[in-house]
Chain length 306, copies 2
DNA sequence: TTAGTGCACAACTCACAGTTGTGTACCTTC
DNA sequence: GAAGGTACACAACTGTGAGTTGTGCACTAA
């Protein structure tokens, strides 16, 4: 591809060869190989150089795009000036939406989103410089954040109950936490040992709920199918979760009250991180954040805001 | 890249090797080579398979994107079901804008835009199936379109005068064609023998203008610089041409009247072309087209509408 | 312990990318 | 019209390196 673009830019095999520090014959072979692979003639050879054929013209923008993407791919792991790298707790929670909003507001900022195991891993990654920021609930019981990690509260995401049409609570406009006692709530894919698991452990302990975290996560589709088809089963889901809503499943989202369990999302970053886009992200989140109103909501006691 | 993605998708070097019909050792070597090139560890090897590192997670979307782009690049020259391929007369004329509008309205339609030499070449390319459609002025003097080529009028693009701030006509709100007699008008990059050149030839002959078509086209920037700096020089430019307006050059666009020379853009395509997107394009252009009002405008006598 | 799984290292082989050398086509110049 | 220059293709050769087979090590499960 590089050779193809070089020939286009110089207009000659000879000059492209010079640019690439190889012989004219090598360029000829490379182009011939590409043409053979594509089963299409890309250049018409003339005594004064090479001109793109129609197929070549159509191919050219794709070739340039490929080189751009390849460059970005390398840049994404290049130490030093790589894209801002942010850890989000799961692709179906509010932070993903926040990052989408940030990308819309600043499309010029290169961004890489990853998902780490838990807040411990995230903190270690931030300290080592492997990531620049992390959306997490701070912090695990009895484990204060290290001195060099800063954090700021971003938003509380209310949990909603998701049921199928045949569920006992399907008709309710809202349910209280007390009403949920005795109902089976299924949360597959919650990994033990993470702060997310700790969150639900506390929720269970405080209100006597029955949460089944067993079983691997077969993906969002499988979860929704099961919820829709099982009258005795429900699940929790973040209010801002954007589902690919399966048509005809009759799924219901029901707000939970008295109190409303909220999952507290904070942004964590390293005190000394010099990445210019990090400041932009923090400013964006500050501007987008609603004011903090904890009235009527519940979080585990170990949650820190500072 | 394919190997990297295969390992991610299967979770194991072994299974990726099976998918790719190579040995596990070859996969190991490929990944090791990629990691060496990037100077970064992409997988953490465990006795139960390979897990992405943080760098690997950041790299993954770029790798997938690269494979997608590569696939599109190949598809762009694949005979049979390739993207709609449209010839536009120049990137700075109305058809380019129309195609941008079409792409915005139908982003799902794959599109390749090329620029051919003249209407003769375009017609030949349409007949051979090399392109699907062409924006051209139909037709050259004394050369009717072949029977199997259909055409429809799309729009008339009024020409405007572009001058620098020191030009004699710079202050005019509009100029008549008669006023242009005696002024030097510079149109570099017009290739003799094309229907575009024929257009200006007719314009010169009919109104006694002085149009200099000499000199190669050094690009839009060079043209604008020269126009801005040369008080005695002006150029014609399509009304819908979107310029990267150089700041501080004081360039003026001045409408031309009595009559207004317009460049007639038509769409040409092959009667039997079965490409589904072609019908969509024609419907889009019909819907977007203004009604045809030729009053007060000028085109060469050989222009055909049918 | 033993068997099994999964990846890495080592040695070998051969395909092919790149090299040098040469040929052909076409344009320019006198 | 002959001579020289330019630009690309073909042919023969060479060396790198991608892939193979063979083996070893680390970890898990029974």
């Amino acid at each position: 591809m590089r050779t193809f673009v070089a020939v286009v830019d110089t207009g000659q095999f000879q000059d492209a060869a010079t640019d690439l520090s190889i012989t004219q014959q090598a360029v000829s072979k490379r182009i011939a190989g590409l043409e053979k692979y594509l089963a299409v003639r890309l250049f018409s050879r003339t005594p004064r150089g090479a001109r793109l054929t129609i197929d070549g013209q159509a191919f050219l923008p794709h070739a340039r795009e490929l080189l751009r993407v390849a460059e970005r791919a390398v840049a994404s792991v290049l130490p030093g000036s790589r894209p801002l790298r942010v850890d989000v707790i799961a692709s179906r929670t509010a932070p993903s939406g926040l990052m989408r909003g940030f990308h819309r507001a600043h499309p010029e900022i290169e961004l890489d989103v990853v998902t780490l195991f838990d807040v411990e891993t995230a903190v270690a990654a931030i300290r080592s410089g492997a990531i620049d920021a992390s959306f997490r609930a701070v912090a695990m019981p009895g484990r204060p954040l290290p001195e060099d990690i800063e954090s700021v509260w971003v938003l509380d995401e209310p949990l909603q109950l998701l049921t199928g049409p045949a569920h006992a609570l399907a008709g309710a406009r809202s349910v209280t936490v007390a009403q949920l006692a005795g109902h089976r709530i299924w949360m597959p894919g919650i990994v033990p040992g993470t702060e997310w698991a700790a969150y639900y452990d506390d929720l269970v302990a405080e209100f006597g709920l029955t949460i089944e975290a067993t079983g691997p996560n077969f993906g969002s589709d499988a979860l929704l199918d099961t919820i829709a088809d099982t009258p005795g089963l429900a699940t929790f889901m973040g209010e801002q979760t954007r589902l690919v809503w399966p048509a005809g499943h009759g799924l219901r989202r029901i707000p939970v009250t008295d109190p409303t369990p909220v999952y507290p999302h904070s942004l964590l970053w390293h005190r000394d991180n010099p990445h210019p886009a990090l400041a932009t992200l923090r400013a964006h989140l500050t501007a987008a954040a609603a004011s903090h109103d904890a009235a009527g909501t519940w979080t585990p006691g170990w949650v820190i805001w500072r």
